[in-house]
Amino acid sequence: MASLSMTDDSRFGLRRQVRLAGPLPLDSGAALGPVDIAYETYGTLNADRSNAILICHALTGDQYVASDHPVTGKPGWWWRLVGEGKPVDPARHFIVCANVIGSCMGSSGPASLDAATGAPFAMRFPVLTIADMVRAQAMLLDHLGVDRLSAVIGGSMGGMQALTWPTLFADRVESCVVIASTARHSAQNIAFHEVGRQAIMADPHWRGGDYYADGQVPSAGLAVARMAAHITYLSEAGLTEKFGRRLQGRDAKTFGFDADFQVESYLRHQGLSFVERFDANSYLYITRAMDYYDIAEDHGGSLARAFTASQARFCLVSFDTDWLYPTAESRIIVHALNAGGAQASFVELSSPFGHDAFLLECPELNRVVDGFLKGGRA
């Protein structure tokens, strides 16, 4: 594949989807095949195929990292980091972002049709892990003719995939950027996810996951799951600053259970707008994958051992108000990398926005990522 023909090659561009034969063996012992993957590419793979960057998205993210979302019309979710003149720049990099398997934006997930029955998989879809998502990404890169990644970059669950990459494909990753993330899901992380799952499964519309036929989806449950999770993405200071105890469109408390407070109204809005773009069963599957995530556990209890085969450079960034994946989690990764002599950088950045900071305006983040990516060229 010569780089000049990329514009004619249907594998490359926006809003791509591919069906890979598979089967993809999964950590559970099951296998998935065929595997659908929805993805986008930006920029051009250079002649020596050395400029590929994979961007990994978070729990409810998608492949539209730097192009307008087809449902919401909003700009790409990481336009601050990926785009012209940004640290990840299609003028210099060949950028790939794929919807994770288990999701609902075009990649295989519980809403996909099971070829065996012709009906949606629903809860018959196999349970996945973060490593399974990464292996599916590797299959996509094979299809695109990308052997090595100049960088794999992700925040939150995207950071988990980025960190997993060099543990599974040591010789395919040159550098790894892990933002606001962790090497394992903590008890608290699992606990919050379980609240969300129970809210979905308690919704009478859920019906064991078989809700696709009549369009009566468990939106109330999914909205509550989103509301609970959304609190964990913000900081107390951020909530106080944005809403305080201010009332919503009224002068006095109603002595009822309407959304008296602005923060209630905001959360309800977050929940309602989320159900329009996300599948409840996908939410169950992806949160489960995150809960099963523990890189050290997969390497005999030693996180350091997970990276010994890799020559990759690592850059870790945490945010001081992120209590979902706090700085201490990033430090655990850094200490393991130092123990193994890996080239590692780590910085805790200051932001009032909690976990969500990685998606929001943060010039320092851009400076760090830009410098780190350029540092590899020295």
């Binding site: 450079r313 850059c315 430090r331 850094v334 200490h335 130092n338 123990a339 002599g341 080239q343 590692a344 950088s345 780590f346 910085v347 805790e348 950045l349 200051s350 320092e364 400076r367 760090v368 830009d370 410098g371 780190f372 350029k374 540092g375 590899g376 020295a378």
Partner: protein
């Protein structure tokens, strides 16, 4: 990168072997690391407590980890570097002796540079003024200085002797010039020691 290095750093940069592996503890914005990388092909890693300094250093393509010399050195394996460097940081640590022990465990050799609190200007300030010295080199007042362990050249030599470390080199600075070893405790503004176990 041709930025002017602080005199003690320039001295260390001149002494580090080509292509060595270096851990710079308290590396600031990475000026020394960048010079070592660019001029001597050194594989340099850094540890720095201040986040904005770390962002500067990573922004220039260096491998720097935000952390604390008092608590984070234990995560580095034995003899994993040719040199561990502690420049102008010794006097800010909670347990300078333990930090140097760690440097000598991690690095085959360790550079330690520090301001000499027994320099005559400081002595005069204390003797005649009765006040803790505030000088060009030590510009902060006693209550807002980061320097929590005031050390002199002779103090440091005594510590080296007590712990049985070996001095492979020692340099003394007055301004940006090297000065004599004789009466260094009185006349040196800065000291740089190269130690091994």
């Amino acid at each position: 990168m041709s930025e002017q290095l602080r005199p003690d750093l320039a001295l260390i940069a001149r002494t580090v072997r080509q292509g060595a592996r270096v851990l710079d503890v308290g590396c600031g914005d990475g000026a020394l690391m960048a010079a070592l990388r660019d001029n001597a092909g050194v594989d340099a890693r850094g540890l720095e407590i201040d986040g904005s300094n770390v962002a500067d250093a990573v922004g220039r393509g260096l491998s720097v980890v935000q952390g604390d010399a008092d608590t984070d050195l234990r995560y580095y394996p034995d003899a994993s570097f040719d040199y561990a460097i502690l420049s102008q940081t010794l006097q800010t640590t909670r347990r300078p002796d333990l930090v140097v022990e760690e440097l000598l465990r991690i690095g085959r050799q360790a550079f330690v540079s520090f301001p000499n609190f027994a320099h005559w200007r400081g002595r005069i300030s204390l003797l005649w003024g009765g006040r803790m010295p505030v000088t060009r080199l030590l510009p902060d007042t006693w209550y807002d200085t980061l320097n929590i362990h005031h050390v002199t050249v002779d103090d440091f030599r005594a510590l080296v002797k007590d712990r049985g470390w070996t001095i492979d080199g020692q340099w003394f600075l007055k301004g940006d010039k090297e000065t004599t070893h004789a009466n260094a405790n009185l006349f040196a503004e800065h000291a740089v020691f190269l130690l091994r176990k």
